[in-house]
Each structure stands twice: as C-alpha cells, then as structure tokens.
Symmetry: D3
Amino acid sequence: MSSSRINRFNKERDALNEVVMKYAGKTTKKFYNLDMHAYEDGALPGKTKEMLGLVASFVLRCDDCILYHLGRCRELGVSDEEVAEALEVGLLVGGSITIPHLRRALMAWDEMA
Amino acid sequence: MSSSRINRFNKERDALNEVVMKYAGKTTKKFYNLDMHAYEDGALPGKTKEMLGLVASFVLRCDDCILYHLGRCRELGVSDEEVAEALEVGLLVGGSITIPHLRRALMAWDEMA
Amino acid sequence: MSSSRINRFNKERDALNEVVMKYAGKTTKKFYNLDMHAYEDGALPGKTKEMLGLVASFVLRCDDCILYHLGRCRELGVSDEEVAEALEVGLLVGGSITIPHLRRALMAWDEMA
Amino acid sequence: MSSSRINRFNKERDALNEVVMKYAGKTTKKFYNLDMHAYEDGALPGKTKEMLGLVASFVLRCDDCILYHLGRCRELGVSDEEVAEALEVGLLVGGSITIPHLRRALMAWDEMA
Amino acid sequence: MSSSRINRFNKERDALNEVVMKYAGKTTKKFYNLDMHAYEDGALPGKTKEMLGLVASFVLRCDDCILYHLGRCRELGVSDEEVAEALEVGLLVGGSITIPHLRRALMAWDEMA
Amino acid sequence: MSSSRINRFNKERDALNEVVMKYAGKTTKKFYNLDMHAYEDGALPGKTKEMLGLVASFVLRCDDCILYHLGRCRELGVSDEEVAEALEVGLLVGGSITIPHLRRALMAWDEMA
C-alpha cells in the first residue's frame, strides 16, 4: 500500500475508534487499554510480539488486523525475510484458505517499502 | 450508515436473495424459512433473540450478519447502552480480532440513529 | 451432569486457574478481571448477558465455556424454554457443526436440574 | 474404531439426541429433519454429498461430525483411496491445524474396515 | 459476475501472486505447487475435488476461494443443480452465517453462465 | 504433564501417524514433509518460529497442536516468561474463548518443567 493508502487507513481507523469510544462502556475501554500495552517490550521484545500478533491475525484471517501488525513490524525494523517466514508459518498452520490474505498482506508490505 | 446506505444494503440483499431462490433447492428454501421465524417472540422476546443473533454474528465476524441484526435491534427499540453491552460481551469472548467489526458495527449503529 | 460431575468440573477449573495465575503476567490478570465483571447487571440484566455469553461460546464451539455459562444461567433462573431458544438461535446461526455441542449442552443442562 | 467402539458411539449419540428432543422447540426439530434429508441422492449422489459433509466437518474440525460422515461413507462404499483424497483436499485447504483430526479420522476409518 | 469482472479478478490474482513470489521462501513455493496439483483427477475425479474445495471454502467463508472454485467448477462442467446441492450441504453444516457468502456465490455463478 | 504423560502423548502420536502414512497419498506426504522443515532456523530462529506456531495453534484452539509446540519450546529453551507472554498475545487476540486452552497449556507447561 502506498503511503497515501496507509495514511487513509490510519485516518479511517482513528475516526471509527472515536465512534467506538462514544458508545464504549468501561469494559471496552479497559480492553482497548490492555490491547495497547500488550505488545510492549517484556521478556519478549516488542518486535517478536508484533510478529506473534501478525501470525495470530493471519490464521484468523482478519485483513485489517494483519495490516495493522504489518505496519508495526515495518516501524520496528522487521526485515522482508522475517515477515515472509512468519507468514509462511501461518500459511502452513492455516492452509490454502489463508492464501488470499497472504496475497493482500505481501502486496501491502511491498507498498510500505 | 445513513438511511440511504441502509436502503442500498437492503436492496442489494433482496436482489441477491432473488438469485439464491433461482437456484435454491427445497432444503435451502426450508432453511431460509426456518431462519425467518427463529427470531420471533417466544419464551425469549424477539428483542433478546436479535441480540443473541447479533453477538453470535459478531464473534463469528460476519459484517453483513452484524448489520442485519443491528437493523432489527433498532426496529425493536434496543437502546444504545444495550447494544454496547451486548457487543462488549462479544468483544471479551471473541478478543481483539473482533475490533475491526466493532468499529464498523458501532459506526453503522451511529448512522442508523 | 450430576451435581458430583459439576463439582468435579469446578474443582478442576479452580486448580487449573491457580496454575494460570502462577505464570500470568499483568495483562492476563487484568483480562481475567475484566472477564469476571463483564456479566454483571448493567443496561442488560446479568441473566441476558449470560445467555449472550452462552450463545457466543456455542457458535464458537467451546464445551467448557458452554458448560460454564449454562451453570451461571441455572443460578440466575433461566428456564428450560429460554435456554432451549437461546441454543436454537445458536444452532441456526452456527449450523449442524454445532449439533454435537447441542447434545452435550442439553445433557449437562438436564443433569443440572 | 473397532465395531464395538462404533456401536458405543452410536448408542451414546442416540441417548443424547433423546435429551435434545426433550428440550427442542419446533425450529430445532425442523433443523434436524432438514439435516437428515440433505444427504439423499439428488443431482449429486448421496455418496458425493457425504464426502462434502466429511470435508466440511474436517476443515471446521469437529471430530464427532467427521466420525459420523466416515461411517456413512463406509456404508455407501467409498473406497480407501477416495476417502484419503477427500481428506487431502481438506488438509490443504485447512492446513496443519487439521492434522490431529486427520490422525483420528484415518484411525477410525481403519478400525471400521 | 460478468466475464469482464472474471477477467479482472483473474488479472488481479495474477498480479498479487507475483508479489507473493517476490517474497516467498521455499516452503511457500512448495505449498503453492502442492495446492496446484491437489485437484487433479485421481481416485476422485477433478470435478468432485473442486466441489470439495468449494464446500470447504464455503464453510470457512472465504469469498475469493469460493469464487476460484466456482470458476473451476464451471470449466469442468458442474451443472447448476450440482453446484446448488453442494452449497446446500455447506449451508446446513455452516449455518446462517454462511448466507451472505451463498448470495455472493450464486450471483457470481449466475454471471458466469 | 508429567514426563510419563508426555511419553504417552508422543507414542500415541507416532502410532496414529503410521496409520496416516498407510492411507496417505503423495500430497499428504509432501505436506508432512513441508511441515517438518518449516520450523527450522532461517531469518527467524527456530525458537521464534515455534512460538509463532504456538500462538497460531492457540488462537485456532487446537490442544494437540498447542501441546506439540509447547514441547518444542521447552526443548529450545523458551523461558516461563516468554511462553507466558506469547500466550498473553494469543489471549488478547483470541479472547476469553481461549481461556480453557490457556489453562490446559500452562498446566502442561508446568508439568514439563
């Protein structure tokens, strides 16, 4: 995805999250907060956690979630080979049903370069 | 979703269902019929059943199904707080993978107001 | 499930949760806490939320989760007809793949009487 | 599975279905009825439909459903090679997450010989 | 889908697969190769395997995969009645959550005529 | 799981894989082979790949697969804190429906110590 497409994705995401917060109760807000902090450096570096989040999103086949974690992987310096190997594990575990997501994921990764 | 977007959604849905009926055998027709009556008032009020259908659709992550049940919830007078709490249960059970659907669901709910 | 089977289920669950807490980091502990409070009375009564949790667990086909919510539904006075209608929505949404879980759920419900 | 294990599986299934029928409303009964007739000869022979049901159950990873359709495939004369090729499609589509089910499926098939 | 829409789908698919191959390691390439050969005539005719792939894709609810197998079914001479019965098995196994995919599948099938 | 339970798990697994190989066609054999090599050291170390496989198995909720990857993580020196953080990402992405698997996973991990 070109950087303008990424910007659009992020803006839409922010606008939608505002609507979520308009309706969200305490539990939803706390969940968002947990989620925000779950990928920080710990015993495992944030970079590894983002790859874990990427592969979890990939086998569960959520394009928006995949895209989000790919963006974070880019920011944290994950290499082409590393992202390809992470998705390869996802492809084997998740099967050919994940191939359309693999295509869109690697196209987005390529455009982020 | 603005009312024009809702109308478009419903029209497309009707047009596609006509194509289904062109090809559908007896089993598919009977399934459609069962589905149509499953949300009527019974021991549980229709309103509760629509929320059950909403949360089931939400954790299975089907945007069209979520949108359909949200529309029915609006018609049956489900309040903002009720729909938010129902989706909150879905968020906890289904995890962060449901967040993109939560965003789209609450945006649609907001536009239906 | 006979009351002795329920007691065994609850004891095993407690023993396993102790092991979870031995390893759990802050995020897991907070998640457990969120989960514990998500089914309390709010705009929706706790009873309705337990049925939402039941149907979500049912279409995602997790026997332990189904059993847990069935037990809570019993405690909160959900009737036979109500639980049957809730699972009926789950059966329609989730299809015949849920039937083995329907069998086990209603057998457990029956034994809890 | 040895024939005594198959008999036990079928008896348990019948006993559980009796409990389902004790609680089932009209919709559940009609769903059971639809399900019973959906695999009859039509434009596609019953044998092909059972293999479709088998592969659908396999990628959705329901051991009881897999076992049921394997039994029906045996009765309708599906060969070892045919069942292996059907499951092979399931393995590719569904990925390595299906392997534990593949093991149990082929062990059951072997015991049914 | 009109033949121009099919052509567009195939072109996009080819373009995306090129990006996959740019990043793919040996395992991904071998997986693609396995996948390409899994639907060839064997003990089961290719036509049956494509219907197995179709129903597996349908219950796992992947529109791109459904579309691909529908196209292959067309090429191999699967009739309207056969495709409708295959999807009917999928509808029963997978439940009403598959209905939006049924609509899009039969609309695409209709446009391929 | 105590080491005797692990040994039993591994023995059963081997026995079942022999049955798979009795029926398996070329595609299944090649898939097994791909799967065996996918977790070797590459751009990502084998240890990271096993954690990716663990979290993928966890969010897809396959106990046998989780157990297998936990065993491999033990062999490759993954620490308690690392496995807990990996599963924490899985819990957040996959939601409370994964909790029964979290309990069994950490009990098995504890017994492997």
